[in-house]
């Protein structure tokens, strides 16, 4: 999202934040805050830093299309705003800068996705599907048609969409992380200072804290190719629904405590507690869905324990 033309933040895939396989935005003003959903990020920028932000051109063109198709009184207004946006884009003196590591990762991810789509489409063509001349309205991929004249979009119906994972209505994980983010946003913002981890820390550095999820750090980490310390698992806040386990525990941002041993022990205890709780819940679980989620919770607890043991060695 562009911030009044002075700065822009792009989606990142770094391992510094708790979301390693999802794209997230790092707030340039906060030390450690990262957001998965652009709406929440935008709200944070406005509420915490008083910054008005808006979206970049790709999304603008998609919105343009949607507005075009929509009806309503506010349509003209929206069109006007969008046309202003586009003219602003046109006036901008575009100078190409090399993409940052974060952007490179985005590009790489997009390319891989495109390759996956091509491969799937190739397989379908060899099975006898027909390649149509139309594109999907949602994602822009070329449509296929099977023998029964049914249209089929490979990326929408087969691959996980990039956008859908952010939709809380569709994804339980997204819902849970939205709840967590809201809670974090509601907490008092007092980020304690954390040691700088830019300079080339070795893997043996005695710090259990998660490396600061700042954009520069992400780039530095990516460029150096260092193995980032796996964030230790922390039990979810007590307010999280413990009766119905919706999703396995996500490794959350742990408190910034320079002391290693007590924290590790605490973390281990917490994970073990959770493991015990999950086991008891699993024994009494009646539904399939709950059992599956409890099992995945147990798996992630076990992984966290393993990482903690590695850290302590």
């Amino acid at each position: 999202m562009a911030l009044n033309g002075e700065k822009f933040v792009v989606a990142c895939f770094c391992k510094d934040s708790k979301w390693t396989s999802r794209s997230h935005y790092h707030c340039p003003h906060c030390k450690f805050r990262a957001f998965t959903r652009s709406a929440v990020f935008k709200k944070h920028l406005k509420s915490k830093h008083g910054i008005q932000s808006h979206m970049r051109r790709e999304k603008a063109s998609m919105i343009y299309k949607k507005v075009e198709n929509s009806t309503g009184e506010s349509k003209d207004e929206q069109m006007g705003v969008l046309k202003e946006l586009q003219s602003w884009e046109g006036d901008e003196d575009f100078e190409w800068e090399p993409p940052s590591e974060a952007e490179m990762k985005v590009i790489q991810a997009r390319r891989e996705r495109q390759d996956k789509i091509s491969k799937l489409m190739g397989d379908y063509l060899l099975k006898g599907y027909k390649m149509l001349g139309d594109c999907c309205d949602v994602c822009g991929t070329i449509l296929l048609q099977d023998r029964q004249q049914k249209k089929y979009c490979v990326s929408c119906q087969e691959l996980d969409s990039d956008i859908d994972k952010d939709n809380p209505a569709l994804n339980a994980q997204a819902a849970l992380s939205q709840v967590r983010e809201r809670q974090l946003a509601a907490q008092s913002p007092a980020p304690s200072q954390t040691p700088e981890l830019n300079g080339g820390p070795s893997n043996g550095q005695p710090s259990v804290s998660v490396p600061q999820p700042r954009p520069e750090h992400c780039e530095g980490a990516a460029a150096g190719g260092r193995a980032l310390l796996p964030p230790p698992a922390v039990p979810p806040p007590p307010a999280a629904p413990s009766t119905t386990a919706l999703a396995p525990t996500r490794p959350a941002v742990c408190p910034q405590n320079p002391a290693l041993r007590p924290v590790l022990q605490e973390a281990e205890e917490a994970v073990l507690t959770k493991l015990r709780w999950a086991t008891t819940q699993l024994q009494g679980a009646a539904s399939l869905e709950a059992s599956i989620q409890l099992c995945s919770l147990i798996t992630s607890c076990a992984n966290s324990l393993r990482s903690l043991k590695e850290l302590s060695q």
Partner: protein
């Protein structure tokens, strides 16, 4: 309704999809695609053209690309999968370069438009570079690592060392196309065929051109037998049965004539008006008219008999009266012969077909050594009775596999065999396959092999004009190419005609397996380092570097199963003729590059695709030319 789309993504994704389709069949480790029809027919194929044309494609860009591939393969006979790979790789590189440095000399509405314009510009520059400098570069840097096989070596005795290279070239071609089991046998058969036809003319590659143009008439597909039953048969095979009983003639030479029209004037043609019983004292009727035509026919047959003609060939189906009279006169008659077979017959015998049956000149009469029917497998053709085989003892090969066919009352295809007494002894190729589809595939492979050989030995003119403008006048320069050193030393340019320096030699072959791509890659990088930046002021990146990096995609795919070997081969600069690698033709690769660059240029010129509600052209998929597709796309 017009829908805007990002051209790059569409190009890239369409070509990316086609690439994904052919990728698994590419290379020596590639697999085959099993085609099944709703009728239950199944066929295995590795031919890229076959696979691509079997896909159901409605997207205009995809159809355009497949059309380009098909046209390229009708010229060179090979390289359709490599075409798609190179195309995809080039498009990706162009896209990357264009998005990095959009051409900002003009003002564009959006970034996509700027990128598209840059891409178009890059493609045009690439094509211009390829047309001007690529053949010199190949001749100087790449061809010296190969070997030039001259025409004399090509037509040398079988199993001589020089002929060995030709056979190896054919063997690697058939290995890629048909599998390694029968590739040696088929390549030997092809060499034998070429050896028999080599003295068709004084010009070196004219024999190849003759074979290429007349291949449908020279080969006979016979299904139901294993491929190892394929043979060469002396003489030309005409794929029709005798319309009249075949009389046994012992005297030689047999005289034959070819008729293009109807011998008996047809009673009523479309648009004719027959006035019956009008005027005159005598009553005229249709019966009188037909009696008159029969009488004239009798005169004609008597005329032919006096000339000693005993075999009549006809393009059209003649009437029953003609056949009856011919039988009476003990002449054998074959009708409904196809045009290309008759043209081959005319070329070989030197006899021109008769259009006016009342004027038969000596030049119309062909002399044959023998003429006999031959049974070629249980092929269902028309409802024609078969003839028992009257095979001479000398033609053992024909008897070997046909002897197993019992002369039962099956519906069979019976063909006539002729031998022509001219300076060349024509031989026909009988191609056997287990099923119809398989036989067809073998026949296509043979034809593509001949096309590939023709492209290899066709001399490239020295001027930097497009390869498509090569005309027959290039054969005037072939005399200067026939005396080329054929020892293991590299071909130096001093042997060439001093007027044409650094021209790609005909007959240049080199080891397969990505050697050509590696060498050209290095040569292009050298060129881009040496040439100053002022050459490409608008775009900072020299196009040669772009082409160099795109070329590497081909060997990467060949060695996709062993990346270590890829690196090892890449660092070897001197190409050695190793035994396990096949051979490939340099001219074919050059043609392929030019074709790919032309296709890229055409693709990037498409801005928008308009979808119309009604069809603009009612041609079928196979017939749709890409001019019409472009019109549809660019309107």
């Amino acid at each position: 309704m017009c829908s805007f789309f990002c051209p790059f993504m569409s190009h890239g994704s369409v070509v990316g999809v086609l690439e994904a389709v052919i990728l698994r069949s590419f290379g020596p480790e590639g697999g085959q695609v099993l085609f099944t029809r709703d009728t239950g027919q199944a066929m295995l194929s590795r031919s890229g053209t076959h696979i691509l044309r079997a896909l159901h494609l409605e997207h205009p860009l995809a159809r355009m690309v497949v059309e380009c591939v098909w046209k390229h393969s009708t010229v060179t006979g090979d390289g359709s999968k490599t075409f798609i790979l190179l195309l995809a790789s080039l498009l990706r590189k162009i896209h990357t370069t264009a998005s990095r440095e959009p051409h900002v000399s003009h003002s564009y509405n959006s970034l996509e438009a700027a990128e598209a314009a840059t891409a178009r510009h890059l493609a045009d520059k690439l094509l211009a570079f390829a047309l001007k400098e690529l053949d010199d570069l190949i001749a100087m840097e790449v061809a010296p690592h190969g070997r030039c096989v001259s025409w004399e070596d090509f037509t040398a005795e079988m199993h001589s060392p020089a002929n060995h290279y030709v056979q190896k070239l054919l063997a690697s071609f058939f290995h890629m196309r048909l599998g390694y089991v029968h590739c040696a046998f088929i390549s030997e058969l092809t060499c034998e065929l070429l050896n028999h036809w080599k003295c068709i003319d004084n010009l070196p590659y004219f024999a190849l051109q003759f074979l290429k143009d007349n291949f449908p008439a020279i080969h006979t597909p016979v299904s139901g037998f294993p491929i190892t039953s394929s043979r060469l048969i002396e003489g030309q095979v005409i794929h029709r049965d005798f319309a009249t009983p075949y009389p046994q003639t012992d005297h030689q030479p047999i005289k034959a004539v070819v008729f293009t029209g109807y011998l008996q004037p047809r009673l009523l043609n479309t648009g004719d008006v027959l006035e019956v019983g009008c005027g005159g004292t005598e009553e005229r009727s249709i019966v009188d008219f037909s009696a008159w035509t029969e009488r004239s026919l009798q005169c004609l047959i008597a005329n032919l008999q006096s000339l000693g003609v005993s075999v009549l060939l006809s393009v059209v189906k003649q009437s029953a009266a003609v056949l009856a009279l011919a039988t009476q006169a003990e002449m054998c008659f074959v009708d409904c012969v196809s045009e290309d077979e008759l043209s081959l017959f005319a070329q070989l015998s030197g006899a021109t077909p008769i259009s006016d049956c009342w004027r038969i000149e000596p030049e119309h009469i062909a002399e044959l050594t023998f003429c006999r029917p031959i049974l070629l497998g249980p092929h269902r053709y028309e409802n024609m009775p078969f003839f028992s085989l009257t095979c001479k003892a000398t033609h053992l090969h024909a008897k070997n596999y046909l002897g197993t066919i019992h002369t039962s009352h099956l519906q069979t295809l019976v063909a006539d065999v002729f031998i022509i007494r001219v300076k060349v002894k024509p031989y026909s190729l009988i191609i056997c396959g287990s099923g119809e589809g398989q036989t067809d595939q073998y026949a296509c492979a043979f034809q593509d092999a001949i096309r590939m050989l023709f492209t290899t030995w066709e001399p490239i003119p020295a001027t930097g004009t497009t390869a498509a403008k090569r005309t027959v006048q290039s054969d005037k320069r072939t005399s200067s190419y026939t005396h080329v050193l054929t020892d293991s030393s590299t071909c130096t340019s001093s042997n060439l005609n001093p007027l044409h320096k650094c021209v790609l030699q005909p007959g240049c072959i080199m080891p397969a397996g990505g050697t050509f791509e590696f060498l050209l890659h290095h040569a292009l990088l050298k060129l881009s380092h040496s040439c100053s930046a002022s050459n490409d002021t608008n775009i900072g990146v020299p196009v040669s570097r772009l082409l160099a990096s795109a070329l590497l995609s081909v060997p990467k795919q060949i060695y996709s199963h062993s990346p270590g070997q890829f690196l090892q081969t890449r660092t070897r600069h001197n190409a050695i003729f190793t035994q396990d690698m096949g051979l490939e033709s340099v001219s074919c690769k050059y043609e392929l590059l030019l074709a790919v660059l032309q296709c890229v240029t055409s693709l990037l010129r498409v801005d928008t695709i308009l979808r119309t509600h009604t069809a603009l052209h009612t041609q079928s998929l196979a017939d749709t030319s890409w001019e019409s597709t472009e019109d549809e796309a660019e309107n």
